[in-house]
């Protein structure tokens, strides 16, 4: 009975995301046909490309910052907060971390630690502004973080121009002063080297940080009293308050945590380029929200979501090369997956509620009979 219900529960868990992917594949096939492309060729190109070692490494590289961003959003979601500001938080964190990293010379471990610390601190402070506005003045966090995103982009544009004018940004290959090798996290090329010889892609060392973040997130949330406080406050702030969890403090802590983790989103790019340049990758914050939604804020689910997003990114590249389909099909697929998954989760939730109520009612009848 129990085993059967465990299996049933697992199936219910995966029904929505798997169904969403299938539906998106089918829907996109129709769109491709209407657009005059052959969906089988297009899908063949995408999958064939993905299973190449180089592409796999590139997918993991792309998934790494997405995963960190997804966890940052998930921390907020668990507390019932929609931190839409990871976008601004990671960009602010990245430019300051790169600037300071390029300005100092330190032994390697200290140098890396300093860069990470600056990223965490700046991300946390930027999110903390929204936290303070909410707890002290009741400002809606969605609104304030959107505004803070705009402010962050403005500040960054202004800083870049100022540094350019002062000559602090080197003209050759525009960007902040390059970080010395001592400040760069070493790559993990020894892992792909086990499978074959690739030179065009390096496996990012930030992957280790992402995994550590995922594990800590899981342990903190599920195995500590603090995690219990956070989740209960997110589920029912009134009941949590009566149970001794102050809601305002939890909002503040959740924002600080979300922002601090968000601050690390840009680290992979900094380590790759050794500096912050004006072409710094964008939209990782917003995509992180998608990934967190898709992964139901679960540390492993977010990882699957991040890899799926990275796969679609890589597919967009190959479709441009082979011309089997317009690359925009990838955006359509993302949209369909996200929308159907979110709707699917809600349907599954309602079915579960009904099933549980029916079981409980049956149990009542059984006992009183």
């Amino acid at each position: 009975m129990t085993e059967q219900s465990t299996g049933h529960r697992l199936m219910m868990q995966f029904a929505a995301p798997v169904g969403a992917v299938i539906l998106s594949v089918v829907a996109s096939a129709f769109i491709l046909m209407i657009a005059g492309s052959n969906p089988i060729t297009a899908y063949g190109d995408m999958l064939g490309h993905a299973f190449k070692l180089e592409t796999s490494v590139s997918m993991i590289n792309r998934a790494t910052p997405l995963y960190i961003s997804g966890v940052a959003a998930a921390v907020g979601f668990k507390m019932n907060i929609f931190n839409i500001g990871v976008e601004g938080q990671y960009r602010m964190a990245a430019i300051f971390a790169a600037y300071i990293g390029g300005a100092v010379a330190l032994p390697t471990v200290l140098h890396i630690a300093l860069i990470l610390l600056v990223a965490v601190a700046v991300g946390g402070v930027w999110a903390g502004v929204a936290g303070v506005l909410n707890t002290e003045r009741g400002v809606n966090i969605v609104i304030s973080t959107i505004m803070l995103n705009g402010i962050a982009l403005g500040i960054i544009a202004w800083l870049v121009r100022k540094w350019q004018a002062e000559g602090e940004i080197v003209v050759v290959g525009v960007g902040t002063e390059p970080i010395d090798d001592s400040g760069l996290i070493p790559n993990l090329n020894f892992i792909p080297d086990l499978f074959g010889d690739i030179r065009s892609e390096e496996l990012t060392g930030v992957l280790v940080i992402a995994i550590l973040i995922g594990v800590s997130y899981h342990v903190l949330l599920n195995r500590t009293v603090f995690g219990y406080d956070l989740r209960s406050s997110g589920l029912n702030p009134l009941a949590a308050r009566a149970g001794g969890v102050p809601p305002k403090r939890m909002v503040m802590i959740a924002m600080l945590m979300s922002g601090s983790i968000g601050g690390l989103v840009g680290i992979a790019e900094i380590m790759d380029k050794g500096r912050y340049d004006p072409n710094f990758v964008g939209f990782l914050g917003f995509n992180g929200i998608s990934v967190a939604l898709l992964g139901r804020n679960h540390p492993a689910g977010i990882a699957v979501g991040a890899l799926l997003w990275a796969f679609l990114d890589a597919s967009s590249d190959i479709l441009q090369v082979t011309g089997a389909a317009p690359k925009e099909i990838v955006d359509i697929m993302r949209g369909v997956i996200l929308l159907t998954a979110v709707i699917g989760y809600e349907i599954v939730r309602r079915i579960r509620v009904r099933e549980e109520a029916a079981q409980a009612a049956a149990r009542l009848a059984e006992v009183s009979a």
Partner: protein
């Protein structure tokens, strides 16, 4: 005189309860008719039926002599009935005029609102009924009494000749009540029929032309204010017989568990909801707080739990001052809490039972050790609670919302009692649960009392209060107005204190 409203044999059943049981009501045109009764006597249900918000299962309604059957408030409005709810339904960012015409805007060509006509009509209404208010004022700038006047004007503007006012004085200060009564008399002079719900008896006697009393869903009597005193009314509301207290031996000790001195708590409008309250609960004692809801009981509870701030006064638990410590510290010091609304304040509905069993106790054994949450310990304790308190559930992994209300309550009671609290704050611990579960909850509280637990019991159920309490205090308008012995108190006495009637008699004599 013709009858404006005549209800005969109105019956309304909800699963498990009969809210209205063969209710008869006759309201003459142009009179002010009061409906009195305790919480849960069926007043609101009756008004909802009359206003078309709910259908009656049985019975007949006549308005101005004609048989009617409303399926929506719109039909009631068309028949000339208007209702002013206790909680205002106004858009605070709009002006008085805009609020009044909202949904009934006079139009002119080009699909535009005819503001001039609306203003004119509003002025006519104001003049006819003697209600003055500036139509251009923003609603958010108005006082509570003025907002209520806007609500009344709103229904009059729609042509209502019969007004239903749901506890109109509950939100008002005395000056505003006088103003409301002046307005009501003018409305009556202009020919309006007013039906109003109230349980402040001195007010009822002052303003009403006749009074109908409901008790447990039935009409008990219709009386004229000249023929009765507030004491008579209180007795009609509470009933002529009180349950006899349980004759278990007293376990009250000399040791004080909860000490409250001069406690004052303010409500949202900065008015004192709890006003200079002092109270002692000893170990092994159950102190029952009686009172009509909304007289400061929930604020008193919140202040003891620490979710509401005390502006003055002190609270101490077993001799330790806890006035300014956090909720968590209080719970760790041994305060158990059964909240009045289990779903909003007691449970995480979306979380499994074993997580719910930890709520409020998550910092203590067996739910945690140090910073680490102990899942195995929590699950084990939940199974113990399930077995000992007979929580009917398929397993402890189902979400709390799957359980019936009674089983949810048993889970909460089990959670609090299994932590062996020094002090239990029980707010309506058996509300909305079946008789069997009720008896089980009472037995648990009695047993724990025998082992030295102090209990502050807040309840609207007189059976519960008299059956369980060693001492009963009565709360009225934020103050403790009486301390009674449940063995010797009479319905008249209890009712008089609960409705404030006793105070008026004392002042009058």
């Amino acid at each position: 005189m013709a009858l404006a409203i005549e209800l005969t044999g109105i019956t309304k059943r909800f699963p498990g309860v009969v809210a209205n049981d063969d209710v008869n009501l006759a309201v003459e045109a142009g009179e002010i008719h009061a409906i009195c009764g305790e919480n849960g006597a069926g007043k609101s249900t009756l008004m909802k039926i009359l206003y078309g918000m709910q259908g009656a299962d049985e019975g007949e309604m006549r308005v101005n002599g004609e048989v009617v059957e409303f399926t929506s408030p719109g039909e009631a409005i068309d028949a000339g009935i208007g209702m002013v709810h206790q909680h205002f339904m106004l858009a605070s960012q709009l002006s008085v005029l805009e609020n009044v015409i909202l949904g009934a805007e006079p139009m002119k060509s080009g699909n535009r609102i005819n503001i001039a006509e609306a203003k004119e009509h509003l002025a006519e209404v104001g003049e006819a009924y003697g209600l003055t208010i500036d139509p251009d004022d923003l609603v958010e700038t108005l006082e509570v009494g003025e907002k209520q006047r806007v609500e009344i004007i709103k229904v009059l503007y729609r042509g209502a000749r019969i007004l239903i006012l749901d506890e109109p004085t509950a939100v008002l200060v005395p000056d505003e009540v006088d103003e409301l009564f002046r307005n009501m008399r003018e409305l009556k002079a202009a020919g309006t029929t007013i039906l109003f719900i109230d349980h402040k008896l001195e007010e009822v006697l002052e303003i009403a032309d006749s009074i109908t009393v409901l008790r447990q869903g039935k009409t008990v009597a219709t009386v004229q204010p000249g023929d009765v005193t507030t004491g008579d009314l209180a007795e009609l509301m509470v009933g002529s017989e009180l349950p006899t207290p349980d004759t278990t031996e007293s376990t009250v000790t000399d040791e004080t568990a909860l000490t409250i001195d001069g406690l004052t708590v303010l409500d949202e409008d900065k008015r004192p909801a709890v006003d200079d309250v002092s109270l002692r609960v000893h170990r092994g004692e159950i102190v029952g707080v009686a009172g009509v809801e909304g007289n400061g009981q929930s604020e008193l509870v919140a202040a003891i739990m620490g979710t509401d701030d005390a502006v003055s006064g002190t609270i101490s638990l077993l001799g330790t001052d806890i006035t300014n410590v956090s909720v968590r510290t209080r719970r760790e010091a041994g305060i158990g809490y059964i909240p009045q609304d289990r779903q909003s304040e007691g449970l995480l509905l979306e979380a499994p039972l074993w997580e719910n069993a930890a709520l409020g106790h998550q910092t203590k054994q067996p739910f945690s050790s140090g910073p680490w949450f102990n899942r195995a310990g929590a699950r084990q304790r939940t199974e113990e609670i399930r077995d000992q308190f007979d929580v009917r559930t398929p397993d402890i992994d189902v979400s709390a919302h799957a359980l019936s209300g009674g089983n949810q309550q048993k889970l909460i009671v089990g959670r609090e009692m299994s932590a062996s609290p020094e002090l239990l704050i029980a707010a309506h611990p058996t509300r909305g649960i079946d008789v069997g579960a009720q008896a089980a909850v009472w037995e648990e509280i009695r047993t724990a009392r025998g082992t030295g637990m102090a209990t502050l019991l807040i309840s609207a159920d007189l059976d519960e209060l008299i059956g369980l309490s060693d001492t009963i205090v009565v709360m009225y308008k934020g103050r403790l107005v009486a301390e009674l012995d449940p063995a010797t108190t009479t319905p008249r006495e209890l009712g008089s204190y609960m409705t404030g009637a006793a105070l008026d008699e004392e002042v009058g004599s």
